[in-house]
């Protein structure tokens, strides 16, 4: 297996104090090719995405920026965020190194209006810092038919709250989204993720519960149509006691589509009283859909409540019969049930559009 490598040499960014460009490059190269990391590219070719990590980026379009509690600057990141993780996210870290600028959003108090972030291209890294006790609703939309990449780092201070809704519904040549969220004590993060498969669409999500009693929720609905692909890699790390995380991920995969889900829950030593749950359900429609799923647990402390489940299957025959016994034809019944399956994971302020895109078309077919 050939080594994975970055498209060009890296200049040492200022937020990485005391390391030379060579040292950084070595570190990234080593992380990219570690067996744990290669594992994350088991079912999707990394080359196409790696080739674009140094591609020029523009700032995303932002709405509702002029409001109390928000300070937005375009500039250089001057010091590293604790969530930046070379080992687990070398591609994203490389993007951050290549970018000469980042969009830095500081949330200082409760922001009354939802902040809208719209990506129509590869965008500059976005850093969002929520001060203690601040709160924000964030709507993120990605739509472009070209290759594009986005990467976001979010740091939630003590008792900060973020409700994040994200839609990536349009077909795209080659799309990669990286999201890293670190939660401090008592912080609360919720992500409603709605996604359609594309020629290639990959989402890396890394949630770090780094303060006591923090809480993270991930709800995701995905639909992979014929010939499309979707690869979701989720890591939830519990580093501190009494955190709770819940993931519910439903994906429907059509004939000829390919869907990969890797959900890893890592509970560190000392993170006692952790409650971590993951449920991944996949519905295959037609004979030639490919579904790979791997719900992983890595647990280093005994006082945890942790469970995960994954299913791959077709529509419940029992439910189908129930509908048919009420006179509903098999086609309509199937459509209703598959919509119901996805709808369970569609919620939040961007739900309307997601329903339209992920379910509306299904009824017609």
């Amino acid at each position: 297996m050939a080594d994975l490598s970055l498209p060009k040499t890296i200049d040492a960014p200022i937020w990485l104090e005391g390391e030379t460009a060579d040292q950084i490059s070595d570190r990234l190269h080593q992380a990219l090719n570690s067996s744990a990391h290669r594992e994350r590219w088991k079912y999707t070719k990394a080359d196409g995405i790696l080739a674009n990590v140094a591609a020029p980026s523009i700032a995303p379009f932002l709405d509702s920026t002029e409001q109390a509690g928000l300070e937005i600057t375009l500039g250089q990141l001057d010091h590293a965020l604790p969530g930046i993780d070379f080992q687990q996210g070398p591609e994203a870290s490389a993007r951050l190194c290549y970018a000469d600028q980042a969009v830095i959003i500081d949330v200082t108090q409760h922001a009354p209006e939802p902040l809208r972030i719209h990506h129509r291209d590869s965008t500059l890294p976005v850093i969002i810092r929520l001060a203690a006790n601040s709160s924000l609703t964030m709507l993120e939309i990605a739509d472009s038919s070209d290759a594009m990449q986005q990467s976001i780092w979010i740091d939630l201070g003590e008792n900060a709250q973020l409700h994040h809704s994200r839609n990536a519904l349009d077909p795209c040549e080659n799309h990669w989204q990286y999201l890293n969220v670190r939660l401090q004590q008592g912080a609360n993060y919720r992500l409603n993720n709605h996604v359609a498969g594309s020629k290639l669409r990959r989402q890396d999500i890394h949630l770090i519960l780094d303060g006591q009693g923090s809480e993270a929720t991930l709800v995701s609905a995905g639909r992979v149509r014929r010939k499309d692909a979707l690869d979701q890699q989720v890591t939830v790390e519990h580093r501190q006691p009494r955190g709770s995380s819940k993931q519910t991920v439903h994906n429907i995969v059509a004939d000829g589509g390919k869907c990969t889900f890797n959900g890893r829950i890592h509970i560190h030593e000392g993170a006692s009283g952790t409650d971590a749950q993951l449920s991944n359900k996949n519905l295959g429609m037609g004979d030639h859909a490919t579904i790979n799923t791997k719900p992983e647990l890595e647990i280093y402390t005994d006082d945890v409540s942790c469970s995960h489940g994954a299913t791959v299957g077709t529509i419940s025959q029992e439910a189908l019969f129930y509908l048919m016994s009420r006179g509903v034809s098999p086609d309509t019944a199937e459509a209703l049930l598959s919509q119901g399956f996805l709808r369970q994971c569609i919620d939040g302020p961007l739900a309307e559009e997601a329903l339209q895109s992920l379910i509306g078309k299904a009824v017609a077919s």
Binding site: S35, E39, V253, D255, E269, G270, S272, N282, G284, M285, G286, D287, H288, A289, T290, I291, N292, T293, K294, P295, E296, L297, E298, I299, Y300, T301, D302, D303, V304, S305, C306, S307, H308, G309, A310, T311, V312, G313, T314
Partner: protein, 497 residues
């Protein structure tokens, strides 16, 4: 007065009852591995040319291969040149003879381990010694005994022969049934399958061979008992079981080794072939020396086990109770090629102190309406690491395949790790795959509640652990089930009571 807590219990050490050394004179090849060693082993066993060539081909492959690194285990690099690849008690150098001629010192070893080598004694039922725990001591069991690199005795051969069942050391089968060995050896696990399988294919010394003819239900349980005795030797046994159409067989495997400070390598290969409507049930109670409480010594158990359901409605069932070894790296698997064939994997893996286990299964569904069930129970105590790794693959041809996986971890103490890596790969959407996993612990609260009702800690933990493993124990043949429970108790001594 104080009540003991989980923490206190983790402190003390456990005991290993099979850790003695047998003092016999052995003929042991000096450490080192090259083509000459491979040729020597082959010549020593008087093998035909095809098998010598087969071994050499495996050796050539092994030299090109690299040690697998993906497992969740850590150990210093193994120097394969420091291992001796052949060791046999001198008294046995002429190959297996009748029971009456077996060196009495060896017989005493097995008596001490509770293995019924005397058929009389076996029939009468031997009272098991504590050391016998984890060994097939039941009444109606035929045993093949492998001591370091050679098979020293096989009991009940004649009785089995009456039913047409062939049960003998594989070194003997090479001569007595060459056509079967040549046809099936490496048919499920090719020489190049993986690093350790390639090594085994090059240097395998002995092991058991079983053939059950068409339509025959094997009249008794078959079993092999593996013993590593000599210092600095590796054990590379090879087992091949063929169940012809419509036949049934239940096979048990037990293992122990002396307590030594060095790590010793055990790299076995087990191949099972079940033809149409045949059923093979393979049970293992693995009690290799796990090393001491600081992780010194113990067996590296790097084993490749795989069964092929070659024909329709064939069934292969693996049941394992893994309590020993410093490191376990083992994935008994089933290839479900025949339509409506069935694969099962029931596993209890217990790690204590510094033990590491990376174990699980692969269920490869190829035939229509194939069904597999995986039940894995991992118990981690002390500072150990216990990992389930599994693959369920549904090929495009596997219409209506079904899998159910349940994967539970029990943690005892907060210094251990429990991990789950289940891979599900589905390319046929008429299939249904379900995976569930949960994690629980033996808590101080539970222990206190039991103590408060007058149940001693040891007993309380044993109850909790046994309850946790119940679904797997009930798959074991009766003789084994009780002993498996006892073995868990012994292995948890120190961790929990």
């Amino acid at each position: 007065m104080s009540t003991s807590t989980v923490d206190d219990l983790v402190e003390s050490g456990s005991e290993y009852h099979a850790g003695f050394v047998t003092d016999v004179e052995s003929e042991t090849l000096p450490p080192g591995l090259d083509e000459d060693v491979v040729r020597y082993i082959s010549a020593r066993k008087g093998e035909p040319q095809w098998l010598t060539d087969w071994r050499l081909k495996a050796f050539a492959s092994w030299q090109e291969m690299r040690e697998p690194k993906w497992a969740h285990v850590h150990y210093p690099p193994i120097n394969f040149q420091e291992i001796s690849y052949y060791s046999a008690p001198k008294s046995q150098t002429d190959g297996p003879r009748s029971l009456d001629e077996v060196d009495p010192e060896l017989l005493r070893t097995y008596e001490k381990l509770g293995i019924p080598l005397h058929e009389q004694a076996a029939l009468a039922g031997v009272v098991p010694d504590p050391a016998a725990i984890g060994t097939p001591a039941g009444a109606n069991v035929a045993v093949d005994v492998v001591f370091d690199s050679v098979s020293i005795a096989t009991t009940f051969k004649e009785n089995l022969a009456e039913a047409g069942v062939i049960f003998c050391p594989i070194s003997e089968a090479v001569h007595s049934h060459p056509e079967l060995v040549q046809k099936y050896l490496g048919s499920v696990i090719p020489q190049r399958d993986n690093y350790y399988a390639a090594l085994n294919s090059a240097v395998f010394s002995d092991g058991s061979f079983v053939y059950i003819p068409k339509g025959v239900r094997c009249p008794m349980e078959l079993s092999t008992y593996f013993r590593i005795n000599e210092r600095n030797t590796g054990q590379f046994e090879r087992t091949l079981i063929i169940a012809d159409e419509g036949s049934h067989v239940s096979y048990l495997e037990g293992c122990t080794a002396p307590m030594r400070d060095e790590n010793q390598l055990h790299a076995a290969v087990v191949e099972l072939v079940a033809l149409g409507d045949a059923q093979i049930k393979y049970s293992t109670v693995q009690n290799w020396y796990p090393g001491d409480e600081n992780g010194k010594g113990g067996i590296y158990n790097f084993v490749t086990k795989r069964g092929l359901c070659a024909g329709p409605r064939a069934k292969i069932s693996w049941t394992q109770v893994e309590t020993g070894s410093a490191i376990t790296w083992k994935y008994p698997s089933v290839v479900l090629r025949g339509d409506e064939s069935v694969g099962e994997f029931y596993s209890v893996a217990l790690t204590n102190n510094r033990q590491q286990a990376d174990t699980g299964t692969k269920m490869i569904h190829m035939g229509k309406n194939t069904k597999s069930t995986i039940v894995s129970k991992g118990i981690s105590a002390g500072g150990s690491e216990n990992c389930y790794r599994g693959l369920v693959r549904i090929s495009p041809t596997a219409q209506n395949a079904r899998n159910f996986t349940q994967c539970d971890s029990l943690l005892i103490g907060d210094q251990c790790g429990a991990h789950t890596f289940p891979y599900i790969e589905n390319k046929n959407n008429s299939a249904t795959v379900e995976h569930e996993a949960s994690t629980s612990k033996v808590s101080d609260d539970q222990l206190f509640a039991c103590q408060q009702r007058g149940i001693e800690t040891e007993q309380a933990v044993s109850m909790i652990v046994n309850g946790f493993c119940k679904e797997v124990f009930r798959e074991l043949p009766m003789e084994f089930a009780v002993e498996a429970g006892k073995l868990l108790e012994v292995s948890l001594e120190g961790a929990v009571g």
